[in-house]
Amino acid sequence: MNENLLRPVAIAGAGLGIASIFLPWAYGPRILDDMTYYFGPSFLQVCYALLAVVALACLVAHFFLDRMSWFARVIAWNDAAKAASLGAVGYAIAVIIAIAVGGGGLINVEPGGWLALGGGALAAVSWFLPASKAPIFERLRCPKWVQILAIAAVMAVLLFAAAFALNQSEADGFLVFAVFLGAAIFTFHATGFFGWLSLAAANNRKVLVISAFTVAFAFPFTQNGSDANMSVAAQVLTFAATAIGLNIVVGLVGLLDLGYIAFLGAGAFTAAVMSKSVFATLSVDLPFPVVALISGTVAALFGLLIGTPTLRVSGDYLAIVTLAFGEIFRITMINLDGTDGPNITHGSNGVPSIPNLDFFGFDFGQSHEIFGIQIGRFSNYYWLLLLVIGLIILVFANLNHSRIGRGWVAIREDEMAAESMGVNTFGLKLLAFAGGAFLAGVAGSVKAYTDTSVSPDQYVFLESAFLLAAVVLGGMGTIMGVLIGATLLKLLPEKLRYFEDYRLLLFGALMVVMMRFRPEGIIADERRQLEFHDTDEELAEEVEEDLTTHHAHLNADKELP
């Protein structure tokens, strides 16, 4: 089809789509977030409009581009329009399905909903427009303050999106919003914005870290005192902290540890047994930081015990031996119940009713009011966990960018060559293995207190597999990737109770599919991105050159009949 025809059709579609949000989409106010008003769009309708506006803007931009040819190449306008309009269609479909399911049939979809779908579909004819040239957005050089502002803005959006998603108590609202986020990410990806952002992030690492932690720290304030969501958030943090620890072993050194959960368990049991619970067998009155250190050390000792013999043999065996170790750990914890062995863990019951932590009179079990916002028990633990994950990220990142990290990656890439270059491969592998175990042990000690109970059935092989999945899904060897992977894997089942029964099935399939199509995970290892960021200057020059030649081309094109 002719572009001159396609574009107006698509523009009209996008316009119709925008108009649709001023009509009711659903019959009945209980469906999603009340889409029943004329000229009173709900939040989820505004989300749709955002996609449609982006599509419209990108489509219309074409008419102004000849005069601003530099601008024409900054963003992949056509690609972005395609992505946004497709996203709008997908989102409209998701909303319509949610309305139909929530209200009991398609009859509940009001004309506005259909208009949104139709408008989106019309806009989606933009799919047949020619593809954009590779955008130069990611090579755009900006003043530092623009980069910092952009990072801060993205972080704020993230905080808002996370808070909104968590507050959706119904699965349908959560899912619809998730579809919107997916569509938005898809669109931004098409513009080339993420490339630019990751470059900006690489250049402003400190800003990124500080703003990420600020956002994470501020998160409990968005919850209006709801402790249920903070409980989920605390679980996500525990899981993510453990996964990052595992990522040292798997992502950096390339050792497949299938019993990693046992180290978390070792830490949790150590802390539980030493706690003031009436079921604790070794109650000692020690300050928590000491307990955390002891827990980590116990886990690390297990790591040494299992690593010393097995790290000398080939990597394949390690996977199975760690798996076997995980089983030994679980069985042992069950058997240390007083009948089959000394009573340490109370067998399969474990250690329940662990009292809350008390830091110099600060009781973690109490609610507090800060800035007029109720901060509940789980928020307290959330902040403690934030500290732990901060520590683990520090260890990961600083080791990664050091002599030791280079040795690890060298081992992962070619162990024999590393040994032949003087790298102490066995020592480094053992360090990673025991160090990873230590971090898991520390995380476990906090987990024991957060959960108030520890029992052997929390530390089974499937949990290890889940941790591995978080690493693989997010991206081996990255922090950001694992954070995303861990969040997805822990949050989705929590919010989508309906799917709970299928979560393992999907997870199994996901592992196979990821290995087949994107083994490096959602976010690829930053070493691959390194080529960009140190050569910023050169790139900028190159881009300038590109542009001049491109300009010449454009002029030449115009001279053709």
Binding site: G254, P309, N335, T339, L505
Partner: protein
């Protein structure tokens, strides 16, 4: 230890060991050819048991069969059903989860294998029971009663031997013989040996390596299916997660004998079975599952090439 108890444990050890050995062959042939630890092989064993159960259910759950009918018609049909389901699963798995990853870093197929393992367990747990007339698969399912084997014993002196033990041990003997014949006396079997020694040269010699790999998966699956049936009769029930522990132990057996070596798998299985039987008798039962893993770790420390394996030279 009194002699009766001793002989009973020997029989227990032999039958347990035969089970492990039958499953271990699957690990070892696949490893021998593509150096992949087929983590999902335990689930193939589980599929074998479910396949046999399926045949039984499709035949209308026949009860009160005469012993010859049960042994000569029902049991072979069930074993065949188990083999078909197990081999089919193994082939699909090989095609979609492993073949695309050949040449990828070693971590990739291993992770993929874990995915397959979890997927198969969950698939059976969620969907097997939904077939009309099939029992709920979220819990253990009683394995069908085979007249002449289930519940029957043979008494030799004061020693009482379960028929299911005899079936298991006999199955191992027959399978070993068949496997020996296949590998040493048939063209396809020799192609398999050639491929395991040097896949590139084998390919140059005109051997279809893909076909050999598929055959290796099928051979492993067939033996695992027999083990699945034997397990069903020996223990009395089956469930979706039976493959996990059995697979782990069979892998231990394969490593114990020397992975990649078929004789090693047989020896390793029997040794492991014996050790477990006597450990369970002499030590506390609650710890019985630990010994296999302790052995696994000890073998890797002191003799990583296994009992039967030869030492591999590290090549520069």
């Amino acid at each position: 230890m009194d002699p009766t108890l001793f002989f009973e444990q020997v029989v227990n050890g032999l039958s347990l060991g035969s089970l492990y050995a039958l499953i271990a062959v699957g690990y070892t042939v696949v490893y021998g050819i593509i150096q992949l630890i087929n983590f999902a092989h335990g689930e193939i064993f589980m599929m074998g048991a479910f396949g046999a159960l399926t045949v039984y259910l499709v035949l209308g759950s026949p009860t009160d069969l005469s012993i010859p009918m049960a042994l000569c018609v029902l049991l072979p049909a069930m074993i065949l059903g188990g083999m078909v389901l197990a081999a089919g699963t193994a082939l699909i798995m090989e095609r979609f989860a492993y073949r695309p990853l050949r040449g990828a870093p070693r971590l990739a197929p291993l992770i993929s294998a874990i995915g397959v393992s979890v997927f198969l367990q969950e698939f059976m747990r969620l969907f097997y029971g939904r077939i009309p007339g099939f029992p709920d698969s979220k819990r253990g399912i009683a394995f069908p009663r085979i007249e002449g084997i289930t519940g029957n014993n043979i008494d030799i002196g004061s020693v009482s031997i379960k028929m299911s033990s005899i079936f298991t041990i006999a199955a191992l003997l027959i399978c070993t013989a068949a496997l020996w014949y296949y590998i040493n006396r048939t063209k396809t079997g020799r192609a398999m040996v050639a491929t395991s020694q040097d896949p590139d040269i084998a390919r140059l010699m005109g051997i279809d390596v893909d076909a050999v790999i598929m055959r290796a998966f099928v051979v492993g699956a067939a033996l695992a299916a027999i083990a699945g049936v034997a397990h069903g009769m020996y223990i009395g029930n089956i469930d979706f997660k039976m493959g996990f522990m059995a697979g782990l132990k069979a892998f231990t057996a394969a490593v114990l004998g020397g992975i990649g070596n078929i004789n090693g798998a047989l020896v390793g299985g029997l040794v492991l079975g014996m050790v477990e039987a006597f450990a369970a008798q002499l030590g506390p039962t609650a710890w019985k599952d630990v010994w296999a893993f302790v052995i696994l770790i000890l073998v890797l420390v002191f003799r990583p090439q296994g009992l039967v394996g030869a030492k591999v030279v590290n090549r520069a």
